[in-house]
């Protein structure tokens, strides 16, 4: 069963008002809750008192200039960095407190987190072994992101688009309910971009949540329901897409207003 299929069945459960799956603690919490999050590196305040949350079934664009604190926020959310103040919870808990985190959250922070000498399939196998995920699932996600044909090639021979797909395959291994992606469209060709957009929409329609950091505003405007903007570490906006745009105002106009209009 694919992520989207599984997500679809979850959504059907929700619509039918069926009880929560036993042991599925935390389902009533927002998918992501970032509260007064602050992260300092010495004198530098990378993230300054940021608060927002994500609900299931939505795609949220996470926007901001370079160095605004997007990646730092994501790293704290995913347990890779400790907050200086506040907290970032996923499904009501800190990342490290989840039993099997990859079965709840799939994340891609960098487009090239692979050993160049390892094949794409073997990269996924290392993750599957550590997460105790069946080898069959590796083949499923390879098919899902459509890179079976190059799966046995070493990653150093991959184009950036193939690496993006391989990263996404890794994020999907555990059949997660939340996807956290940093610049996932970077390096994808137009067919790949459309494929990704469709994939993320289906994922959210199936009950999943997506948090996608991006600079490609035109692409974001086509793919997201909500937008969270941070600028110089502080929250600049947290709104539905159509609250920011409309009446001839594009997402780019809104973004440049919110972030001071400076080139970054």
């Amino acid at each position: 069963m694919s992520a989207t299929e599984r997500a679809a069945s979850k959504s059907a459960d929700d619509r039918a008002g069926s009880p929560l799956v036993p042991g599925d603690a935390g389902s009533r919490d927002p998918v992501v809750r970032v509260s007064s999050l602050t992260k300092r590196y010495g004198e530098v305040v990378a993230v300054d008192d940021v608060t927002f949350s994500l609900a299931a079934g939505t795609v949220t664009g996470f926007l901001g200039p370079n160095g605004a604190g997007k990646t730092t926020t994501l790293r704290v959310l995913l347990g890779l960095a400790e907050p200086t103040g506040g907290e970032a919870l996923v499904f009501g808990r800190r990342y490290r407190e989840l039993d099997q985190p990859v079965q709840r959250i799939g994340a891609v922070l960098e487009s090239n987190d692979f050993h160049p000498g390892r094949s794409g399939r073997d990269h996924l196998r290392t993750l599957a072994l550590a997460a105790e995920i069946a080898p069959r699932r590796v083949e499923e996600v390879l098919a899902l992101v459509e890179i079976e044909a190059v799966a046995d090639r070493r990653v150093k021979t991959y184009s950036l688009g193939m690496r993006q797909r391989l990263g996404l395959a890794g994020a999907l291994l555990g059949n997660p309910d939340l996807l956290v992606l940093d610049e996932p469209a970077n390096g994808l060709d137009p067919v790949g971009v459309r494929w990704l957009r469709t994939f993320l929409r289906r994922f959210a329609e199936g009950g999943g949540a997506v948090l996608v950091a991006s600079h490609v505003l035109a692409e974001v405007a086509q793919a997201v329901d909500r937008v969270v903007v941070i600028d110089r570490g502080r929250l600049a906006a947290n709104a539905a897409l159509d609250e920011l745009t409309g009446g001839g105002r594009t997402l780019e106009d809104a973004y440049l207003e919110l972030t001071g209009g400076e080139m970054s």
């Binding site: 347990g79 890779l80 985190p101 990859v102 050993h115 196998r125 290392t126 993750l127 550590a130």
Partner: protein, 249 residues
């Protein structure tokens, strides 16, 4: 835990790094031991102590060094290539990841050491025969050489994981291990007796002691083994602690 160990062993099998290190190690062991065996003055190789220390000792040291490099790279290569991020996303309990790397490196390091020890024994003995030097080593000496090199290399692999986790940057970690084992230790256990009295407690000297080298100057094999195990435990614990505490870039 066993799942993490399987994952770490698979990481080692699925790139050419470990095989490349193994090949270079084997070539260097044969080269160094043959060179010492063929080059040593025969009056400097007529006792078991001299044969073991002067001719066969370099093989042990190379085995331990390459096992240490393997262990260090199990950490630093993940940091260098960014795979540390997916690794910690799957297993956010970082101390367990380091522990699995220590276990995997000990297993592979033991294999490195076993081969290094056997190659050392074969090359050294061949050199003695070729030159008509009487081999003064008995079966027990050979067993201690091979098993001791395996033990020394496996524990140095664990030290390497700790060093890699503490240093993080690959090039300084690997250069540091090479410089320590090939250069600094040689100074510590040199001809100056009052330095040797302290230098024999250094981790490279403890590893050499396990194979029975330089009795009297170095520690007894069992004491060397215990001491090196303490070094390995301390390095691994420090690496696990630092990795758990520090943010991942």
């Amino acid at each position: 835990m066993s799942a993490l160990l399987r994952a770490e062993l698979f990481k080692q099998r699925s790139t050419r790094t470990a095989l490349g290190l193994f090949g270079v190690m084997l070539g260097l062991v044969l080269f160094a031991v043959l060179l010492h065996g063929l080059g040593v003055a025969s009056e400097n190789a007529d006792s078991a102590r001299e044969q073991l220390t002067i001719v066969l000792g370099p093989g042990e040291r190379i085995g331990a060094l390459f096992a240490g490099l393997l262990g260090a790279m199990s950490m630093t290569a993940e940091i260098r290539h960014g795979t540390i991020r997916p690794t910690f996303l799957v297993t956010p309990w970082r101390g367990r990841v380091v522990a699995a790397k220590v276990c995997a490196s000990i297993l592979i390091g033991a294999g490195f050491g076993l081969v290094a020890g056997a190659a050392t024994a074969a090359a050294g003995t061949a050199a003695f025969w070729g030159r008509g030097i009487d081999v003064q080593l008995d079966g027990g000496d050979y067993v201690l050489l091979v098993a001791g090199t395996a033990a020394a290399a496996s524990l140095w692999a664990a030290i390497g994981v700790g060093v890699g986790a503490l240093v993080r940057n690959q090039v300084p970690a690997l250069i540091g291990l090479c410089a320590w084992l090939l250069f600094v230790e040689g100074l510590l256990v040199g001809d100056v007796a009052d330095i040797s009295s302290i230098g024999r407690y250094a981790p490279g000297a403890a590893a050499a002691a396990i194979t029975g080298q330089d009795p009297g100057t170095l520690l007894a094999p069992a004491v060397g083994l215990v001491l090196l195990a303490l070094y390995a435990g301390a390095a691994a614990a420090a690496g696990a602690f630092a990795t758990s505490r520090r943010d991942v870039a």
